[in-house]
C-alpha cells in the first residue's frame, strides 16, 4: 500500500492527519472563545460533549489521528536520520529562506505532546473521563477559572501555544504542498494564509487563558 | 616515397555516387542492414557519452545491439557537450527567411573555408531537421514564441535565423535528452554503462577493432572489453593549450590511441579560437569561460579609438563607460559592414587579436576587448536583455565581479573547439576497420572553421542519424563472428603495453607536477600555434615541444600508486598524449602554407589582413599516419573536390 511504503505516501498520511487535527484545533478554539463571551454557553457545550456516543466516537477518532500522526513522525524521523548516512557534517549553517520550524517539527511535536498530556490531566481527566467512568464530571467553567488562576499553568500553556504556533506555521502550508496544492504563484500566498491561520487559532486559545488569569487577579 | 604513394591509393572516402542531394538517400537505400535476430548477437563499444556518444549508444541499443558505454566522469550526463550555450542549427526555415538544406550546407562549407567534404556536409544539413524533431519528442524544452511554436535566433556566419535554443543552456538540454534516451536503454539492460572508466587502448585483431583496454578510475584496475565494433566519441583536444574552454578532463588520448593503432589524424592544426571568452586574469587560472556567441546578436564589440584611452584603461584609470560614443571603434562593424558583429568566429577572433596587438586592449593585461550591451538595453529595455542573456550575465558577474548591465563585458579569444580529428570516411569509419569515430573527435564536417551552433548539430547527426545506419554496413559482414575471449594474445599484449606505460610513468618520480608541465606546453602552443602562426614560430614550437616531452618523461612526479584512484596519474597519461598532439598540430600547421579558417599563417594574408587560401596547393585534408614511437609521422592527402559549390574567397564585408 503506497501510504505505507512510499515516501510521498507517508507524507500524505502526515499531512491528512495533521490537517484534520488543525480542523479540530479550530473547533476547539472556537468553543473556548465561548468561555469569554458566555460562561453559561460554555457549560452547555461541555454538557453537550460529555460521554455521548458522538462525542466518544469523536474522541476516539481524534486520538487515532493523533496517534497515527505521532507514530509516523517517529518512523519518518528514524528513516530520515538513517538517510543522512553515518557521518554528520562538521559545520552546518542555516539558509535564510528556510523556516526554523520546518527543521524542528519533531522537537516542537514533543513539546506539544507534553502540553497535551498536561492539558488532558487538567481537563479531560476531570470531565469526559470521569463521566465515562460513571461519576459526575466537574464543571468546565470552574476548571478554566481555577487552572488559569495559577501563574505557572498560564506559563506552561503559553509555551505550549507558542510551540503549536510554530508547528502550525509550517504544518499548514506544508500539508497543502504535500497534497500538491501549490505552485510558484501560490507559494507565498499559501505561506501567508498558513501564518494567519496559525496565529488566529493560537490567539483564540491564548486569549481565554490570559483573560481568566487577568480575571483571577482582579 | 614509394611507400607513401602506396598508402595514398588507399585513402578512399567512400562517397556514394549521384547528385549531392541524393547521395545519402541512395546510400541508405543500398547499404547492408543487420536483421533483428542478429543484432542481439553483436556487441558495440561506445566510448564517450557526449551528444554523439550518448545518442549513438541509445540509438544502437534501441535497434537491438548490445552496447557497452564508457565515460570518464561519474555520470554520462557530465560530458562537456553540456556546456554548449548558444544553440543548434537546423534548416527548418520556420522563420520563412529563405533557409533551406542547401543554404545550411552552403553556409557550413563556406564557413569552413572550403576545407570540408561536400557530401558529408550536405548529409549533415539534410538530417539537421530530424534532430530538432527528435529532441522535441524527447521533451527538450526549446524556447518558444507566444503562439507555442519554436523560436529561433541568428548566429555568426549566417544571414538567416536558424538556431534553436533553450535559454543559454542548449547543450545541456540536448545532452540531457540524449542522456535520458541512454538512461532508458540502461534501465532496459540493453546498454551496460561503465562510468569513471577511461579507455587506454584499442585492441585490434587481424586488422579490425575488437575491443578496448580501460582503467577503472576508482580502483585503478585495468580491464579488457570485447566488441564487434568500437565507436569513439571522445570530443576534441583543445586542452592541449592547457587553458581552453574545454572541461578539465577533456582530452585527446582516445584520438591518440586510435592514431597509434593505425587511424589517420586529419587536419590537426584546425583549432577554433572562440572570440567571446572571459579574459585570462592570473597565473593560477585553470580554465577559460566561454560567453555564448549568441551575445553577439545584441552586443557590440569595440575598443577605444584613441591609444591614450586604451593606455589609461590598461592602467585602471578609465572604465568602458567613460569613453564617449565618438571615441569608440566598433571595429567589426567598421571592417565587415554586411555581417558586422556576426562574422564567423575565426574572423572575429583575429580582429580582436589585431586590435590588442596594436595596443588597444582594454584591461590590465591589454588582452581584452569590450562587448557592450548599452545599445541593446536602450533599444530593448533591460528586462528583455535580461530575459535573453540573464544567466550569462549572472555567470559573468560571478566570475569577474562586474555588472555587465552597467560596465561593458570584457572578452578575449580562447581555444574552444578542434575541427581536426580522426579521419573518417563517409561511413564515419576510420582507416582501421570496425573503428568508428563520431562528433568533435572526428574531422569530418567543419573544414577549417566551425560555425556557431553547428557542433551540437554534428554531434547529434552522427549519433542519432548517421552512425546507426552506416555501422550496419560494416556489421552485416560480422554476424558470423562469435564473441571473442578477452584472453586472446592481442588483448593480453595491449593490456601489458598499457601497464608498462603506467609503470614507466610512476617510476619517473621527478620533481614537477603534471599541471606545471602542462601549463608550459599550453604557453608554447598559445604563443606559436595559436591565432597567428609563422614558419619560424612553428619550428620553434616543434623544438620546444620536444624539450617539454623530454622534461615530462624525465622529471614528472606522480604521487600515490597506480592501483588506486589516482588523479595525477590520469592527468599524466593525458598529458603524454597532449604533448604528441601539440607536436602533430605544429607539424600540420607548418606544412599548410596558407591561411584558412582557424588556421592563420601570417605569411599568407591579403593586404587587408584577411586569410589567404592557396586552393591550388592545399585543397586537401592532411591525414597523418603514425609510423612508430619516435619516428616522424607521414602525411597523406585526401583531395577535396568541389563538384557542387564554387570556391570563393570568404567575404563578410558586403
Amino acid at each position: 500500500m503506497w501510504l505505507f511504503n512510499s515516501s510521498v505516501g507517508r507524507k500524505v498520511v502526515m499531512c491528512v492527519t495533521g490537517a484534520s487535527l488543525v480542523l479540530f484545533l479550530l473547533f476547539h478554539a472556537s468553543m473556548n472563545l465561548v468561555a469569554i463571551i458566555s460562561p453559561e454557553g460554555y457549560d452547555m457545550i461541555c454538557e453537550f460533549l460529555g460521554a455521548n456516543w458522538y462525542a466518544l466516537v469523536g474522541t476516539v477518532g481524534l486520538a487515532g489521528l493523533a496517534v497515527i500522526h505521532i507514530l509516523y513522525a517517529f518512523i519518518l524521523s528514524v528513516q530520515n536520520y538513517r538517510a543522512r548516512g553515518n557521518a554528520r557534517y562538521e559545520v552546518t549553517d542555516r539558509q535564510e529562506s528556510v523556516e526554523w520550524a520546518s527543521k524542528n517539527m519533531l522537537v516542537l511535536g514533543f513539546i506539544i505532546l507534553g502540553g497535551i498530556c498536561v492539558h488532558l490531566i487538567h481537563f479531560w481527566a476531570k470531565m469526559q473521563l470521569v463521566e465515562i467512568l460513571g461519576a459526575i464530571p466537574e464543571n468546565g467553567m470552574e476548571l478554566i477559572r481555577y487552572t488559569f488562576s495559577q501563574w505557572y499553568n498560564l506559563a506552561i500553556y503559553l509555551v505550549w501555544f507558542a510551540a503549536i504556533w510554530f508547528h502550525l506555521t509550517h504544518g499548514i502550508w506544508s500539508s497543502m504542498h504535500t497534497l500538491g496544492w501549490n505552485n510558484n504563484i501560490w507559494m507565498p500566498r499559501i505561506k501567508c494564509i498558513s501564518n494567519i491561520f496559525a496565529t488566529l487559532i493560537v490567539l483564540m486559545f491564548a486569549s481565554v487563558a490570559i483573560y481568566y488569569f487577568v480575571i483571577s487577579l482582579i | 616515397m614509394a611507400k607513401q604513394e602506396e598508402i595514398q591509393a588507399k585513402i578512399d572516402a567512400k562517397i556514394p555516387e549521384g547528385p549531392l542531394a541524393e547521395k545519402w538517400t541512395n546510400y541508405k537505400a543500398h547499404q547492408k542492414l543487420v536483421n533483428p535476430a542478429n543484432k542481439r548477437r553483436l556487441d558495440i563499444i561506445v566510448v564517450g557519452t557526449g551528444l554523439a556518444g550518448a545518442s549513438a549508444a541509445a540509438s544502437l541499443a534501441e535497434m537491438g545491439f548490445n552496447v557497452l558505454s564508457f565515460c570518464i566522469q561519474d555520470s554520462p550526463r557530465r560530458a562537456h557537450s553540456i556546456a554548449a550555450q548558444g544553440g543548434i542549427n537546423a534548416a527548418k526555415n520556420y522563420q520563412n527567411d529563405g533557409d533551406s538544406v542547401y543554404r545550411l550546407f552552403y553556409d557550413t562549407i563556406k564557413g569552413g573555408d572550403y576545407r570540408a567534404r561536400e557530401a558529408n556536409v550536405y548529409r549533415l544539413a539534410e538530417v539537421s531537421n530530424n534532430i530538432i524533431d527528435q529532441c522535441v519528442a524527447q521533451g527538450v524544452p526549446f524556447a518558444r514564441e507566444y503562439g507555442g511554436l519554436l523560436d529561433n535566433r541568428s548566429f555568426g556566419g549566417a544571414q538567416v535565423s536558424r538556431t534553436f535554443y533553450a535559454k543559454g543552456q542548449t547543450g545541456q538540454q540536448l545532452l540531457l535528452g540524449a542522456y535520458s534516451a541512454l538512461s532508458r536503454q540502461i534501465g532496459k539492460g540493453k546498454v551496460k554503462m561503465y562510468s569513471r572508466y577511461e579507455m587506454l587502448d584499442i585492441v585490434v585483431i587481424e586488422g579490425r577493432a575488437r575491443g578496448i583496454i580501460a582503467r577503472n578510475l576508482v580502483t585503478g584496475r585495468i580491464e579488457r572489453f570485447f566488441a564487434h565494433a568500437v565507436v569513439v566519441g571522445s570530443g576534441g583536444y583543445g586542452n592541449t593549450f592547457f587553458l581552453s574552454t574545454n572541461a578539465m578532463a577533456s582530452n585527446g588520448s582516445a584520438a591518440m590511441q586510435m592514431y597509434r593503432k593505425g587511424a589517420y589524424f586529419a587536419n590537426p592544426c584546425y583549432a577554433q579560437i572562440h572570440p567571446t571568452c572571459i579574459p585570462v586574469h592570473g597565473d593560477f587560472q585553470s580554465k577559460l569561460t566561454l560567453m555564448s556567441e549568441s551575445l553577439r546578436n545584441d552586443g557590440r564589440i569595440w575598443v577605444p579609438k584613441k591609444i591614450e584611452d586604451a593606455k589609461a584603461m590598461q592602467a585602471g584609470k578609465l572604465k568602458g563607460r567613460d569613453i564617449p560614443e565618438e571615441d569608440r571603434d566598433y571595429y567589426l562593424e567598421r571592417r565587415y559592414p554586411a555581417f558586422g558583429n556576426l562574422v564567423p568566429r575565426d574572423v572575429a577572433s583575429r580582429a580582436a587579436k589585431e586590435r590588442c596587438d596594436a595596443g588597444f586592449g582594454v584591461n590590465a593585461t591589454g588582452l581584452a576587448v569590450f562587448l557592450d550591451f548599452s545599445d541593446a538595453i536602450k533599444r530593448l529595455g533591460k528586462d528583455v536583455v535580461a530575459a535573453k542573456y540573464g544567466n550569462l550575465f549572472q555567470m559573468y558577474e560571478k566570475i569577474v565581479d562586474e555588472n555587465p548591465y552597467e560596465d561593458p563585458m570584457m572578452i578575449f579569444p580562447a581555444i574552444h573547439y578542434t575541427m581536426g580529428g580522426i579521419w573518417v570516411d563517409y561511413e564515419l569509419q576510420t582507416s582501421v576497420q570496425g573503428l568508428f569515430c563520431i562528433g568533435e573527435a572526428n574531422f569530418s564536417d567543419h573544414g577549417a572553421n566551425r560555425l556557431g551552433a553547428s557542433a551540437l548539430m554534428q554531434g547529434l547527426a552522427d549519433g542519432y542519424f548517421v552512425l546507426p545506419y552506416t555501422i550496419q554496413n560494416y556489421l552485416a559482414d560480422q554476424i558470423s563472428v562469435p564473441r571473442m575471449s578477452t584472453d586472446l594474445p592481442e588483448f593480453v599484449e595491449a593490456e601489458n603495453a598499457v601497464k608498462a606505460k603506467i609503470e614507466k610513468l610512476m617510476a619517473i618520480q621527478g620533481k614537477r607536477s603534471v599541471d606545471s608541465i602542462h601549463r608550459e606546453l599550453g604557453l608554447t602552443m598559445w604563443e606559436y600555434v595559436g591565432m597567428g602562426r609563422t614558419k619560424a614560430g612553428l619550428e620553434t614550437a616543434i623544438a620546444k615541444i620536444a624539450e617539454i616531452r623530454k622534461e615530462f618523461w624525465s622529471n614528472v612526479f606522480i604521487p600515490g600508486t597506480e592501483d588506486d584512484l589516482n588523479v595525477e596519474l590520469e592527468k599524466a597519461l593525458r598529458l603524454a598524449d597532449f604533448i604528441e598532439i601539440g607536436d602533430l598540430m605544429a607539424r600540420d600547421a607548418l606544412q599548410r602554407e596558407e591561411s584558412c579558417g582557424g588556421h592563420f599563417r601570417e605569411e599568407y594574408q591579403t593586404p587587408e589582413g584577411e586569410a589567404l587560401r592557396q586552393d591550388d596547393k592545399f585543397s586537401f585534408a592532411s591525414c597523418w599516419k603514425y609510423m612508430g614511437e619516435g619516428v616522424e609521422p607521414v602525411m597523406l592527402k585526401e583531395p577535396l573536390d568541389y563538384e557542387f559549390t564554387e570556391r570563393k574567397t570568404r567575404n563578410y564585408k558586403n
Binding site: R10, N80, R84, E90, N182 | H80, F142, A143, M193, Y464
Partner: protein
C-alpha cells in the same frame, strides 16, 4: 592591484570508501581573491605535490557551473556560501582574510564517499533510468512544430530542466531526500505534451526508485531549493506530489 588573502583550510581526507576519514588542516597564503574556489584547491594540491604528498581528491570538470560534477560542502553550505552558483563558480572574494574554511564531502547514505571529497552519485542516474525519460526511439517522430506548447509551460519546463544533477539538494536536506531532483525531472516532462503521455508511470517509477535507494522523506523544509545552484523551485515538489497522488488514486 590584485588582492590576496591568507586562509586556513580544514579538509576532509578519507583514503577509501571503507577507510576512516578525518580533517586535515592546511594553511594557504596569498590566495588571489579573483581565483575560484577550485583554483584555490589546485594551488593547495600543487603545494602538496611539491611536498611529495597525495593531493586532495575532489570532483570537478567543466568549471563553468553546468556539468554538475563539482560538489563540496563548504562552511555549512553545499557549493559554498554564495547563492545560485556551483562550487566552481564560487570565488575567493567571498571569503575574508584569515578565515578558516571547512570543506566536507556530500553526506548522504545514498552518496558514499569514494575518496577524500569525492562521492558516488550514481544513485541519481539510477533514478533517471527508472523513468526520467520520454519513451521514444530515434526516428519516426512528428515535426517539431506539430504540437504547439504554451510559452509559459515551455519556460517552466525549462526552469525545471536546468537541474544539473549535482546532488546539492540531497546534501543540503536534513532528511537526505532527493525530492527536488526527482521533482525537477517529473515536472519538466509533465509540463510538456510529449512527456504527459507517461507522466503517471514516470512519477511512480521514479519515486519508487528514490525510496529504494535509501533517500529520506521530504518534509518541505526547502533547504534543497535554497541551496540549489540552479534555483530549481520548491513548487516542483508540489507538482511531483500531485502527479504521484493522482497516479496512485487512478490505480
Amino acid at each position: 592591484m590584485e588582492k590576496t588573502i591568507n586562509i586556513t583550510l580544514k579538509v576532509w581526507r578519507q583514503a577509501g570508501p571503507k577507510a576512516k576519514g578525518g580533517f586535515e588542516t592546511y594553511k594557504l597564503d596569498n590566495i588571489s581573491t579573483d581565483s575560484s574556489f577550485l583554483e584555490m584547491l589546485d594551488v593547495l594540491n600543487e603545494k602538496l605535490i611539491n611536498e611529495r604528498k597525495e593531493p586532495v581528491v575532489f570532483d570537478h570538470d567543466c568549471r563553468e557551473g553546468i556539468c554538475g560534477m563539482c560538489s563540496l560542502y563548504i562552511n555549512g553550505h553545499p557549493h559554498g556560501p554564495d547563492s545560485a552558483i556551483t562550487t566552481c563558480q564560487l570565488h575567493m572574494r567571498k571569503f575574508k582574510d584569515g578565515e578558516t574554511i571547512t570543506v566536507e564531502p556530500w553526506r548522504s547514505n545514498a552518496f558514499p564517499v569514494i575518496k577524500d571529497l569525492m562521492v558516488d552519485r550514481r544513485a541519481y542516474d539510477k533514478i533517471i533510468q527508472a523513468g526520467g525519460f520520454v519513451s521514444v526511439n530515434t526516428g519516426g517522430v512528428p515535426d517539431a512544430n506539430a504540437i504547439p506548447i504554451p510559452k509559459k509551460d515551455a519556460d517552466e519546463a525549462m526552469d525545471a530542466a536546468s537541474c544539473i544533477g549535482c546532488g546539492a539538494c540531497a546534501a543540503a536536506c536534513k532528511n537526505g531526500s532527493a525530492m527536488l531532483f526527482v521533482a525537477a525531472k517529473v515536472s519538466q516532462l509533465a509540463l510538456l505534451p510529449q512527456g504527459k503521455v507517461e507522466a503517471a508511470r514516470r512519477a511512480k517509477a521514479m519515486v519508487a526508485k528514490m525510496d529504494e535507494l535509501g533517500f529520506g522523506n521530504c518534509t518541505n523544509t526547502g533547504a534543497c531549493a535554497a541551496e540549489c545552484p540552479k534555483s530549481v523551485s520548491l513548487s516542483n515538489i508540489a507538482r511531483l506530489n500531485r502527479e504521484f497522488i493522482c497516479a496512485k488514486f487512478k490505480d
